[in-house]
């Protein structure tokens, strides 16, 4: 067997924090042969990206390789001179970052950035490279490949930009590409296109790749073998099919099992019951442009209504209309049969109390200068008028409810909490007002899967205990499946489909629902092949949306 292209042995990486070095990676080995795709998965902080960068002989500022070897095609990357690395990077090793929008230089056209590498490395002349770029754009099925390169980054969509970046990485025909979460920021329908494009081009040029992601279903489509990481240690490595069908370690099994959480089904609501929240024919606009068109749906007591759709479909705008942040232009919102004033400023304290909200980014939803007790205590003090020890007891009770130890967390600042804990504090703040109805705006999408599952279980438990109603905004259909009772599908500011969950997940559905459902990657390595065969090459992702 020939020597592997990338050979990492006993890699130790340390990061500097508070005047001392603390380990990030503790002795990881990695082999990657030519033309092979390795999936690196793990939660945030597992060291996936750090290993990906180390394979290029690169570390971020304040991080160093303390021990071990990294060999690329027999070249020692740890001790290589800067000049030697410069000659390799971009030419034989390329990198595709998570956010293409942040990685392209906004001041230059795509094709100019594309040709920079080949010209710099003397691989091709500018004209040749430009021609090749257009050819790559065509292969990646970018619309209008002859012209799209002459646009600036802000003139193309996120999915297109991600593909243009993949094309750029291919521009010197590298032997190795490192993909660092290339589809995480994209909608499901767009993600398919990028995945299909990446896989096709990697196969065509026989490129080796390291594919970093936290999404198991995605990695199942892309990788030949998978390595699971946990806090800088390797958990296990196996080829994709073995790994999916029979994971050995408990941690891997728990990752796999996340997707199995599903609430028991509830009987449908009484047809003549008064819904807790009823959105009636709401049309809303930012400025002069309507972003919601005649949206109506009901949310009944003790139920969860999931509102799904891609970014820009108006999900969050609907939530803003319910809370009164964006007064609708037409229509209104009823709470227990009574119309709420359109603007939140006109609502009474009692009306405000009944509708609470949990935000997507817990980082920006909690005031960084306040302690947990202040954050949770404020609504209690504000609405219930509790003071002193009564306030303190109530805060402790709320912390117990969200499964955090009051003695430990009461006096901490948000920056001293993990992502999942912050989100729990967000939930506690909403609960503190003792509302009947809570809007959950993408509450799990910024979290790792295991943590997200914990949040979903907590929300489900609270609903059972307190009889809450949820409006659950999400683009992740696995989450919908796990928690919702009813589903509302939105597209371009309109409700295109709605009904109980069981009906929604069973065919026949509306064409758009079908597209959404079928675009969610599954844990089956053949899923993408089957889907592409079914849809036909020209009919995936955005292209399919455009046709409807």
């Amino acid at each position: 067997m020939p020597d592997p292209l990338v050979k990492i042995r006993n890699l130790h990486i340390e990061g500097r924090s508070d005047e001392s070095w603390s380990p990030i990676i503790n002795g990881v080995d990695l082999d990657l042969n030519k033309g092979e795709v390795l999936g690196l998965i793990g939660e945030s902080g597992a060291g996936k990206s750090t290993i990906g960068l180390a394979a290029m002989g690169f570390t971020r500022d304040g991080v160093r390789i303390s021990d071990g070897t990294v060999e690329f095609d027999g070249i020692d990357m740890v001790n290589a001179s800067a000049a030697k690395k410069r000659a390799l990077l971009g030419k034989r090793i390329a990198y595709v970052a998570q956010s293409a929008a942040a990685s392209f230089n906004p001041a230059h056209r795509l094709i100019d950035q594309h040709t920079e590498g080949p010209v710099q490395h003397g691989v091709a002349s500018r004209a040749q490279s430009q021609e090749d770029g257009i050819e790559l754009y065509r292969k990646l099925r970018l619309p209008n490949p002859d012209q799209i390169g002459f646009r600036y980054p802000h003139q193309v969509s996120g999915g297109q930009l991600q593909r243009a970046m993949t094309a750029m990485a291919m521009s010197c025909r590298p032997d190795l590409i490192i993909f660092d979460e290339p589809t995480t920021a994209l909608d499901v329908t767009t993600q398919i296109e990028v995945l299909a494009a990446i896989r096709e081009i990697v196969e065509e040029f026989d490129t080796a790749a390291i594919y970093i992601t936290h999404d198991l279903a995605v990695v199942a489509q892309m990788a030949d073998k998978i390595k699971v990481l946990l806090r800088g240690d390797e958990v296990e490595e196996a080829d994709t099919r073995t790994m999916l069908s029979s994971p050995k370690e408990d941690y891997t099994k728990s990752l796999w099992a996340v997707r199995s959480f599903e609430r028991p089904e509830k009987p449908p609501a009484e047809p003549d019951a008064v819904p807790v929240v009823s959105v009636k024919g709401v049309t809303a606009a930012y400025g002069k442009v309507d972003v919601l068109h005649d949206v109506s749906f009901d949310i009944h007591a003790g139920r969860t209504v999931a509102v799904v759709g891609e970014s820009g479909s108006g999900k969050s705008t609907a939530a803003r209309c319910i809370t009164g942040l964006l007064p609708p232009r037409e229509g209104h919102v009823e709470f227990e049969g009574e119309a709420l004033p359109l603007d939140y400023k006109a609502r009474s304290k009692e009306q405000l109390r009944q509708v609470q909200m949990i935000y997507q980014m817990a980082d920006t939803a909690l005031n960084p200068r306040k302690t947990i007790a202040q954050i949770i205590g404020r609504p209690v003090e504000f609405y219930m008028g509790l003071k002193g020890s009564a306030l303190r007891d109530r805060v402790d009770q709320l912390l117990d409810q969200i499964e955090l130890d009051p003695a430990q967390f009461r006096n901490r600042l948000p920056s001293e909490l993990s992502g999942g804990q912050k989100q729990r504090i967000g939930i506690a703040r909403a609960l503190a007002a003792e509302p009947r109805f809570i809007i959950c705006d993408e509450v799990t999408s910024a979290l790792d899967q295991l943590v997200a599952e914990g949040i979903l279980r907590l929300l489900a438990r609270l609903q059972d205990e307190l009889g809450l109603s949820y409006m659950f905004i999400t683009h992740d259909l696995a989450t919908v499946r796990a928690i919702s009772d009813e589903v509302v599908v939105m597209k371009d500011g309109k409700v295109v489909d709605r009904g109980p969950k069981t009906e929604m997940f069973r065919p026949p559905h509306h064409a758009y629902t079908d597209l959404l459902l079928s675009s969610v990657p599954e844990m089956d390595p053949d899923w993408l092949d089957n889907l592409l065969a079914e849809r036909g090459v020209d009919n995936i992702g955005d292209a399919a949306v455009d046709k409807m």
């Binding site: 942040l325 609502r347 005031n367 404020r378 504000f382």
Partner: protein, 400 residues
């Protein structure tokens, strides 16, 4: 050979040395990454720094008196500067050492992470504050007392006509310069402090209001601020102060109060800009939205939600703004419309003694006199800026 030729030859020499230095380093260390990956520019920088260091050392050891018997003022001042720098650095180091070993756990941690520049700045600020507060007790004479013959030569050397009772000399009408410097700290720094606080109260309040409420109030305030900022601030202040000198006696209000309000209003426009910009970034946060949806009032939003998150940049701006205010007061006093005699003020002292700078070439000691007040201004400005830099660095969360 002309000066230009020497300069060019020197540059060429440094350029050649840089090349040799890098090559020698690579050979001597067996291609250590430090030398192997060193760019030519970096090597050039090292050589340039080394050359300048050698030149400085050479200049430092030049004789104080030229062969013609004249004082070599350049060397004298350069020696003072170097000695002053070393003494200040040592003082700052000792102060930091003290801070690291004395005090609560929190302050000790603070001092452990502190760069030397910041501890120097804090030391300077503490000394100034002490002097300003206890000026009456420290100063050997009153600020308005006329004590004797004018002798501006510092040092009190009887051979030069000085009196050891007045270590820094006396000014043209015989007032003790040391006492006036000490009282100047009280007058100049105290007034600057009050003015800056007033500027922040005005600018901060309106800035946060504009950021939170937006709409026509924001437009009105911002355009008014634009108008004020369009006029060069020193000239505007000078104009208003000239008007105030006419009004003050009529209304029976001391001119100093006018000056405080005028400078505070002019400087509050800058504070307003900053507070509004910082506020706008905070207002879009979800926790503000959550507070609004809870039904919180404007006061709670501004003081409990926004202000705590804006303290770091505002505090840094406070330090910087304090320097500007302080310089403006000194400048106005220098021009004759600021703090009025006989009150001691550093700006006025510089103006009164400025002509002695002309004697620097003959008698370095005579030129020191006006520089004492100017140095006091410079030292505080540098100190405050060091502390502000450090605070900005801390609040931005950057790591070295």
């Amino acid at each position: 050979m002309s000066g230009w030729m020497i300069f060019l030859l020197g540059l060429a020499g440094i350029a050649a040395m840089a090349f040799l230095f890098r090559l020698a380093g690579q050979k001597a260390t067996g291609d250590a990454p430090k030398f192997r990956d060193m760019s030519y520019g970096e090597a050039f920088g090292y050589m340039l720094a080394a050359t300048l260091l050698i030149l400085a050392v050479w200049y430092y050891f030049q004789p104080k008196v030229t062969e013609a018997g004249m004082a070599n003022a350049g060397v004298v001042f350069f020696r003072w500067a170097v000695q002053g720098f070393l003494i200040f650095a040592a003082a700052a180091w000792l102060f930091r050492l003290l801070g690291r070993n004395v005090g609560t756990a929190w302050t000790r941690k603070l001092f452990r992470q502190m760069p030397l520049t910041a501890s120097f700045g804090i030391l300077v600020i503490l000394i100034y504050a002490f002097v300003a507060i206890f000026a009456g007790a420290i100063a050997p004479h009153g600020q308005e007392e006329i004590l004797g013959a004018a002798n501006v030569i510092a040092g009190g050397d009887p051979a030069l006509g000085g009196d050891p009772a007045y270590p820094l000399g006396t000014d043209q009408i015989g007032r003790d310069i040391l006492s006036r410097l000490i009282y100047g700290a009280q007058n100049t720094v105290g007034i600057a402090f009050i003015t800056t606080i007033l500027a922040f109260l005005l600018g901060g309040t309106f800035g946060f209001l504009a950021a939170t409420l937006g709409g026509w109030l924001d437009q009105l305030l911002s355009r008014a601020v634009d108008v004020l900022m369009a006029i060069p601030s020193l000239i505007f202040a000078l104009l208003l102060m000239t008007i105030a000198t006419v009004w003050a006696p009529k209304l029976g209000i001391p001119l100093t109060w006018f000056m405080i309000v005028i400078i505070a209003v002019i400087d509050s426009t800058r504070v307003y800009r900053l507070a509004r910009a910082v506020g706008l970034n905070i207002v879009v946060m979800d926790y503000i939205e959550a507070a609004k949806l809870r039904g919180e009032g404007l006061g709670y939003l501004v003081f409990k939600e926004i202000l705590p998150n804006a303290t770091a940049p505002l505090l840094a701006e406070f330090g910087l703004r304090f320097c500007f205010v302080f310089l403006t007061i000194a400048a106005l006093s220098f021009l004759g419309v600021g703090i009025q005699p006989p009150l001691a003020d550093w700006g006025t002292m510089v103006r009164d003694l400025a002509q002695f700078i002309n004697f620097a070439a003959f008698s370095p000691m005579a030129a020191v006199t006006p520089l004492l007040a100017a140095g006091a201004i410079a030292l505080l400005t540098v100190g405050v800026n060091f502390v502000v830099d450090w605070m900005l660095h801390k609040s931005s969360g950057l790591k070295e």
